[in-house]
């Protein structure tokens, strides 16, 4: 990140530096080239002028053969330190005089060349004719060492180099100073963009630095932020609304299931009571039993719907403990046995002999088994068979429950859809409602099995070839905590078993349920006080002597939990909670409030009998 932040600055400085250095270098190179040329021209000019004077002065010496004079003329070159050698040739081309007169360089040309000047090997060589009165009298040769010229050029170049370095320093300083006007706003913008994307705060705005393109950029950036902010807040609003709508739907479904269950309550109480009355004729009792079964099925469907809302809202929580899956499975088999018997379906069981334990919620696990078995019974034709097997695999630490049938089976397409919500398999499309149900059972079962860290899958060889469901659950570490075989309370509804008159305070705001339940309890020999609200209950309880409180939880003026807590603090009484919600936290709240039993409406009268039996048995012991 810091590297990136500086790269723009560096690049700007680099561009400015490079441009100025290139411009200066070109300028200095041109200056140097000009100076070089000027130096050469100047040197050549000086040498020519010198040659003209010496040649002019030497004409008489050559013509009148005065060697001393010729040498004397050349000796005047001492004042020109650049000129290292010189010579005079007579008109016949013979070397006549040299400079220096003694020890003249050996490389002097032996004969004169044509009038010419040439730069060679760091020297400037010149042949100049000696002419007197337009007559050729000889040739002068001069050679000038250009070392000094080159030396001066070197110094000049060095000075330019120093100036170039200085210029670069100044340029670096200035570019570092000025680049901020360009990079500053861009870096600020980049930092702001980073801040916005990190904080998701779209209300931040960049300040516009100037009226130029950078200002335009900032303006465009801010306009973009406006749009993002608008669409973001719109999206947030839409999400909030969707959440609210979803919550409303959940609440609605919960309320709906509650409202749907409540009317079933008195019906189930009545039907279950009547079906068990020995004083009624067998045919009548069978009719009541049919009513009871259908009410229970209705309640089951409503429960499924409620479970589904819990699953979709992630509120389904297991009430886990160590349980015996064999027992749970046997209970589930018992619940479907009557149906299977009605279709003359043969059950064969291979449940093993061990006592494996799993961690789980027995109610939920039974729901799973019940769903699978119910499914098998439903899709197996009359006279078919169902095999239930349970096998313990201690090596992998798992237990396999297999339910196989010879029913209509499944096609390959149907298998993956089977455990999805609202999917009953393709055969349901052709003949809707032939098999009934909402198709929620298996979807809920899968979720429940997964909550138990298990898997559920199905195998089938195809249509008409039956199906096999395999449920796979992890074994609990085989601790020796065996299930206490709870003493099955006497299922007998006989009122005669009540040893003395017990007082029950029944608090229920649903009038039909209250009336019927009160009548039934009275018929069992209990003294029953009724109340439709907490306020009434307080009045009724004020006199004391109440043994058991049976209370609805959702009361018009408060919660049954509060009532239980309040009364149990004042009186030594036990409680049974009746609730239409049946949610897991309800169970916890129920226990915390001091209820001994928690029954989900609609209830069969036998369930209340069992609960009361348990309470009074404990009280006796």
């Amino acid at each position: 990140m810091p590297l990136q932040r500086f790269s723009l600055k560096r690049r700007l400085i680099g561009v400015i530096l490079l441009s100025s250095v290139v411009a200066l270098s070109v300028t200095y190179a041109a200056l140097l080239a000009y100076e070089f040329h000027a130096f050469r021209e100047g040197t050549a000019h000086n040498l020519t002028a010198l040659a003209r004077i010496i040649a002019s002065n030497s004409s008489a010496a050559l013509i009148y053969d005065d060697k001393a004079l010729a040498e004397e003329n050349l000796a005047a070159l001492r004042s020109e330190p650049d000129i290292t050698a010189a010579a005079l040739y007579d008109q016949h081309g013979r070397l006549y005089a040299t400079y220096p007169a003694k020890g003249a360089p050996a490389n002097l040309p032996l004969s004169p060349g044509k009038e010419a000047m040439e730069f060679r090997g760091g020297r400037l060589n010149l042949f100049y004719p000696v002419v007197q009165d337009q007559r050729y009298a000889g040739t002068l040769y001069l050679t000038s060492d250009l070392g000094e010229m080159y030396g001066r050029l070197r110094i000049y170049g060095g000075v330019l180099l120093v100036v170039l370095m200085g210029s670069m320093g100044v340029s670096l300083f200035l570019s570092n100073f000025f680049q901020r006007r360009i990079s500053g706003p861009i870096l600020e913008l980049a930092a702001m963009a980073r801040l916005i994307s990190e904080q998701k705060n779209y209300a931040i705005r960049a300040r516009s630095p100037s009226d130029d393109e950078l200002g335009d950029l900032t303006g465009a950036f801010n306009a973009m932020l406006d749009q993002i902010q608008a669409s973001h807040s719109e999206a947030e609003r839409a999400r909030d609304e969707a959440l609210k709508a979803s919550r409303a739907k959940d609440d609605f479904l919960a309320a709906l299931s509650h409202e749907l269950r409540t009317p079933l309550n008195p019906v189930l109480l009545l039907a279950s009571d009547a079906a068990a009355r020995p004083d009624l004729p067998e045919a009548i009792r069978a009719d009541f039993d049919l009513i009871r079964k259908n009410v229970e099925l209705e309640a089951r469907l409503i429960d499924d719907l409620l479970d589904l809302t819990r699953i979709t809202s992630g509120k389904l929580v297991l009430n886990g403990r160590l349980i015996d899956p064999l027992r749970v499975l046997e209970d589930a088999i018992e619940t479907v046995r009557p149906e299977a018997a009605a279709k003359r379906i043969a059950f064969s069981l291979a449940l093993g002999s061990g006592q494996p334990m799993v961690w789980g919620d027995s109610v939920r696990l039974q729901q799973v088994f019940w769903n699978v078995l119910k499914n098998a019974v439903k899709f197996t034709p009359e006279g078919g068979w169902i095999t239930v097997a349970m096998r313990e695999d201690s090596e992998s630490g798992r237990i396999l429950i297999t339910v196989a049938d010879n029913g209509i089976g499944l096609t390959g397409d149907e298998i993956p859809r089977l455990f999805r919500v609202f999917s009953q398999g393709a055969h349901a499309d052709g003949e809707p409602h032939r098999f009934g149900g909402l198709g929620l059972g298996l979807a809920i079962s899968r979720t429940l099995v997964e909550l138990h860290a298990g898997t559920i899958r199905v195998a089938s060889d195809g249509r008409g070839k039956g199906a096999t469901f395999i449920i796979d659950l992890p074994l609990a570490s085989t601790q020796t905590e065996t299930l206490r075989s709870s003493p099955g309370p006497a299922a007998s509804p006989s009122a005669a078993r009540v040893p003395r008159e017990r007082s029950i305070l029944l608090v229920e705001d649903h009038a039909p349920t209250r009336t019927i339940l009160a009548r039934m309890l009275q018929s069992r020999g209990y003294r029953v006080l009724t109340a439709a609200s907490i306020a009434e209950a307080r009045v009724s309880a004020a006199g004391g002597g109440i043994d058991v409180l049976i209370s609805d939880i959702g009361l018009p003026d408060g919660s049954g939990y509060d009532l239980m807590a309040e009364l149990s603090a004042r009186f030594p009484l036990k409680g049974i909670a009746l609730t239409g919600y049946g949610m897991e936290h309800d169970l916890d709240d129920s226990r915390r409030a001091g209820f001994a039993a928690h029954l989900t409406k609609p209830v069969r009268i036998q369930m209340i009998d069992d609960a009361l039996g348990l309470i009074f048995q404990e009280g006796r012991s």
């Binding site: 008489a60 013509i63 016949h92 007197q132 007559r135």
Partner: protein, 183 residues
């Protein structure tokens, strides 16, 4: 008229050959070398000395070099000046037999016996350059004298005499000569 380069080179070669000849034969023929040299010296005087403007009344008049005496310089000098001009005046070489003839000359060279006849001759301010080779020539009013030292021909110049004749001698020439100043 300028000499064409070829002709000049040819003449230079001739000089070289003669000089070489002199060297080979040593003192056997110094005269030939000296004569040649003196002819050249005399001819070159026309380049270093300026005659006054009124010297020639006729612009086409020749520039005459007169020769007096027994030195056989005529031929060499004639050869030297052929085709040459001084300020547009064609050069001529004449042998003078009497002093009066010298009046029309611009240069008079006298040698040996002949000099005696002209030594006394005075041109009374006429712009005539007198050149001689005998000792005492300058003392008797001559302007330029050839002297031979160590086999080298040198010049001596009587500057007052030349000035009296309105002749301008180039400093270059003065530098190669011994100059007799006015006292």
């Amino acid at each position: 008229m300028r000499l064409r380069p070829f002709a000049r080179r040819l003449r230079s070669w001739a000089t070289v050959v003669m000089a070489a000849f002199c060297c080979i034969y040593g003192r056997a023929a110094p005269t030939a070398s000296e004569v040649q040299l003196k002819a050249a010296f005399i001819f070159h005087f026309t380049q270093f000395i300026s005659w006054p403007a009124h010297t020639f009344e006729d612009p086409n008049a020749p520039f005459v070099i007169g020769i007096v005496g027994d030195e056989p310089i005529d031929e060499a000098l004639t050869e030297m000046v052929r085709g040459e001009r001084v300020d547009g005046h064609p050069l001529q070489v004449r042998r003078l037999s009497r002093p009066a003839d010298a009046a029309n000359c611009q240069i008079v060279y006298s040698s040996g016996d002949g000099e005696e006849k002209f030594r006394a001759a005075r041109f009374h301010g006429e712009p005539v350059l007198t050149v001689g080779e005998t000792e005492g020539f300058l003392q008797s009013g001559g302007m330029i004298e050839f002297i031979t030292e160590h086999n080298h021909v040198k010049l001596r110049i009587n500057l007052p005499a030349a000035k009296a004749a309105s002749l301008q001698i180039s400093s270059k020439l003065l530098r190669v000569a011994q100059v007799l100043s006015p006292e």
